[in-house]
Symmetry: C2
Subunit: 194 residues, 2 copies
DNA sequence: AATAGATTTAACCAAATGGTTAATATGGTG
DNA sequence: CACCATATTAACCATTTGGTTAAATCTATT
């Protein structure tokens, strides 16, 4: 992979993630990459193709696959708590990802077709097993996972609002997020305790 | 308020809410309203002003004010549960609102300045009072409210993904949402039980 | 009916934007 | 060096888009 191509991808990622497809300008990407606009088309033909390249690379990470964890044989509560922790740490490093992915799937629901569903499906199965054994409270798994993903994702899509309510600056917010995973784990345990 | 003006506002609301500012075309709004594009500028001068009109009208509803409820003297757990129920019902009727508001506040954080903060602030105070009395578990209120709002909002911003995972159609999804408020109330009670 | 003011329309405009092209530079290879 | 493919650039193009204008139509008041 050549240097120009990489500079373009890096710039495109930054612009597309923050501005979305409609809000992004090819010229802005070129400027950020420090190259001529024609290079974008030389390497990626069109805005659509450049965007799709970034999107496909990024949205797979929406349900980050933590292979070893989800297929391991530990009990569901520990498994989902570990997942929530790793997911939160992942989102701290990729704070723009949730809104980016959500927006593009809402705009073009066809993209959802390619979503890697193994993670949520494996988790649901893992939950059902333990719930039937009486190891966790029984409920509709969709309801459970909406709550869990909501707790994990909301801070990152609602950051400006949260900061407005709490009056925190970015440093405070990062601190709040560091403590977030412990709090989520606690909430999950309370919800699932039989 | 004259008829043309109302038709414009109705069309603008539909387009802006679903497509966002950048994705919306003045021509599309005019077409939907069934009038000439020049009328948009005649009544609202510019796209920005038309958008701001819609946004200000809509985003106040992100924290729907339920005056009687938040200032009532019932215990916090019942109060927040009732709030979650009413909020969910409100979102079922306004499913595009969360993503719309979130996107525009993320794009232009200055808008957060005008957010009506009385609702969250009153709720936090109400929580602190009861927590100190030992009526609910003590924790960082920001963490609590991120979980609650996350549980309420996530289904509406993640709808296409949820449907992909569960394989549900729109009818099924609406049914799932009807049961959502009971589930959230249960989760909140479990999280807050002292 | 005549006048005046508000409303509506078709045609137009300038800027922005995604995309193309033709010419030029660059770097490796015989 | 001469050659050739690749990489890069400036200038250009067609379309889209927000916005304007001048003329036409409607509405009420005298």
């Amino acid at each position: 992979m050549n240097l120009t191509e990489e500079k373009i991808l890096q710039a495109a990622e930054e612009i597309f993630l923050k501005q979305g497809y409609d809000g992004s300008r090819m010229q802005a990407i070129a400027d950020l990459a420090g190259i001529n606009k024609a290079m974008l088309h030389y390497y990626f033909r069109s805005k659509d193709q450049l965007f799709e390249r970034i999107f496909k690379e990024k949205y797979g990470g929406f349900f980050p696959t933590i292979e070893g964890l989800i297929s391991s044989q530990i009990n569901f509560i520990d498994k989902i708590c570990t997942f929530a922790e790793k997911y939160t740490l992942f989102l701290i490093e990729n704070p723009y990802l949730p809104l980016f992915v959500i927006n593009n799937i809402n705009k073009n629901p066809d993209f959802a077709k390619n979503l890697p569903l193994n993670l949520p499906k494996t988790l649901v199965m893992s939950y059902m097993e333990d719930a039937e054994k009486g190891l966790c409270r029984l409920m509709n798994p969709a309801q459970l996972f909406m709550s869990i993903f909501g707790m994990c994702i909301f801070p990152f899509i609602g950051k400006p609002m949260i900061q407005k309510v709490t009056g925190e600056n970015d440093e405070d917010f990062k601190e709040l997020m560091k403590m977030r995973s412990n709090e989520i784990k606690e909430h999950i345990r309370l919800i699932l305790k039989p």
